[in-house]
């Protein structure tokens, strides 16, 4: 028997009005209660019917052409829910792997410095795990590069340079000034999208590591913004795209303006190539 309070929560859930702890508590109950799931499904159908009440309006004729033009030029492989996703080779230009190697070493350096910063034995252990994962990631990246025959002597030199950079970072006196921020999803249909931004104020550069963001059409990019209160508008941190299969991305960024104090990081959805001033919706934001 479903009581009134639960019916109320079910109605709010069907209308996507629950959030935070209320939502996660309700979803726990949903997983255990088939009759509650049936009720929510019925209420979702009823709430969806409300959509038909929107006053009639026609999109411009040009929208149809714009959408058809946004579709990929070649037909997609057949994919249904019972079949695994088709895998197509992803081109790996030289510059991407150079950046990946640099970002991986920067991530190594960041993990090491973060372990000094946190200071407690439990946090130190977690940071050591992070460092191990980063080393494994770096090692996997080096193995992949070799397999693709893209790793050249210049890349080895880049790694040596990155080690020099790591040594320079290690010499920096005030490790506590590194800013590490986590960005949470604002997308209701991609709630697991997230990112971590590591910002080095002395070097005026940082690394953004993104996961589970949806892939974008060809005419769009994600754009990173650095919010510094001294500027009236957020500062451009650069554009990036995610790997379609995983939704992951790694961006080494240098904001277009000198940054004195970072109050927030944010990611928005913009036109291809990015914009000078944020126009599109925010998809990730730090607290």
């Amino acid at each position: 028997m479903i009581d009134e309070r639960t019916e109320e929560a079910a109605s709010l859930y069907a209308l996507d009005l629950l959030d935070g702890a209320e939502k996660s508590d309700f979803e726990s109950r949903l997983r255990r209660d088939p009759s509650l799931r049936a009720l929510v499904e019925e209420l979702r159908v009823s709430s969806t019917a409300l959509a038909l009440l929107a006053p009639e309006a026609a999109p411009p004729d040009a929208l149809r052409d714009r959408i058809m033009a946004s579709l990929p030029a070649h037909d997609r492989p057949v994919r249904t829910s019972s079949e695994p996703a088709a895998v197509s080779p992803i081109p790996f230009p030289f510059a991407v792997w150079t950046g990946w190697a640099t970002a991986a070493c920067f991530a190594l350096a960041t993990a090491y410095l973060a372990s000094l910063y946190v200071g407690t034995s439990r946090e130190l252990a977690a940071a050591r795990d992070l460092e191990s994962v980063a080393r494994i990631d770096a090692e996997s990246a080096r193995q992949l590069l070799e397999a693709e025959r893209l790793l050249a002597q210049a890349q080895v030199a880049d790694l040596r340079n990155a080690r020099v950079q790591i040594a320079n970072l290690e010499r920096q006196a005030d490790v506590a000034r590194l800013k590490i921020s986590s960005l949470a999803s604002l997308l209701s249909d991609s709630p697991h999208a997230q990112a971590v931004a590591v910002w080095n104020p002395e070097a005026q550069e940082g690394v953004l590591s993104v996961s589970n963001l949806p892939a974008l059409p060809a005419d769009r990019d994600y754009q990173l913004w650095v919010i510094d209160p001294q500027y009236p508008i957020p500062v451009d941190g650069g554009v990036f795209t995610v790997e379609p299969a995983s939704g992951d991305a790694h961006l080494h960024f240098k904001p277009k303006e000198p940054i004195k104090d970072v109050s927030k990081f944010a990611v928005s959805l913009e036109r291809k190539g990015g914009v000078a001033k944020a126009e599109g919706p925010m998809v990730l934001i730090s607290p």
Partner: protein, 201 residues
């Protein structure tokens, strides 16, 4: 009195089966099927986005994104979990609501938020000149009739909840009612709507 469904159960089921088949063809990369889905759904989806956002350009962007998502995710659609149209409506509303909430986070002022009364004006509707539009109008009439039978306060709460892009607290503030009262109205209104709407609408 129960509202009359626009088509017999058989005709409605046939239409849903056609839609589901179109989506399966889209999942196989059939552009012609995709164009048919666009022709069937673009008007109501645009209407929903426009109703939520009050901005035609942003509504266009939302519809664009929904159809691209439909192209990419058509293989995820499962017909035993609901209708193709319902799936697209949900995609559209979610994206439109996200855009509304993103506007608030950027500190921009919203255009006047959704009025409690939709103020639907039948005279503004274009003449139905296709089977799809006629079907939509008839279904909308059934839903409107069901909604009209609800008490005004439940109607207002449901409309704000669906189209407003507001949180529970913001709906309560907009209606100048306690939060508990608003929640109860939403519960009663939605349960009543579930009873009044014919199965498979």
């Amino acid at each position: 009195m129960m509202p009359t469904p626009p088509e017999s159960g058989t005709a409605e089921t046939r239409r849903e089966d056609e839609d589901a088949e179109l989506i399966r063809r889209v999942a196989r990369g059939d552009r012609e099927a995709f164009a048919s889905v666009y022709d069937r759904y673009s008007r109501p989806l645009f209407a929903i986005a426009l109703r939520v956002l009050n901005d035609a350009r942003e509504a266009e962007d939302i519809v664009h994104d929904v159809f691209i998502a439909l192209w990419n995710k058509a293989g995820d659609f499962e017909s035993d979990r609901g209708t193709a149209f319902g799936w697209c409506v949900t995609l559209t509303r979610n994206r439109a609501i996200d855009r509304v909430r993103a506007r608030k986070r950027r500190g921009e002022l919203l255009a006047e938020s959704a009025p409690a009364d939709l103020g639907y004006d039948e005279n503004q509707a274009e003449n139905a000149d296709s089977g799809d539009m006629l079907w939509q109008k008839e279904k909308a009439a059934v839903v409107r009739q069901a909604l009209e039978s609800l008490p005004a306060e439940q109607r207002s709460a449901l409309q704000l909840a669906y189209f407003g892009g507001l949180t529970q607290q913001e709906i309560a503030a907009k209606l100048r009612e306690p939060l508990g009262t608003v929640k109860a109205r939403i519960r009663r209104g939605l349960l009543k709507l579930r009873e009044l709407l014919p199965q498979g609408l």
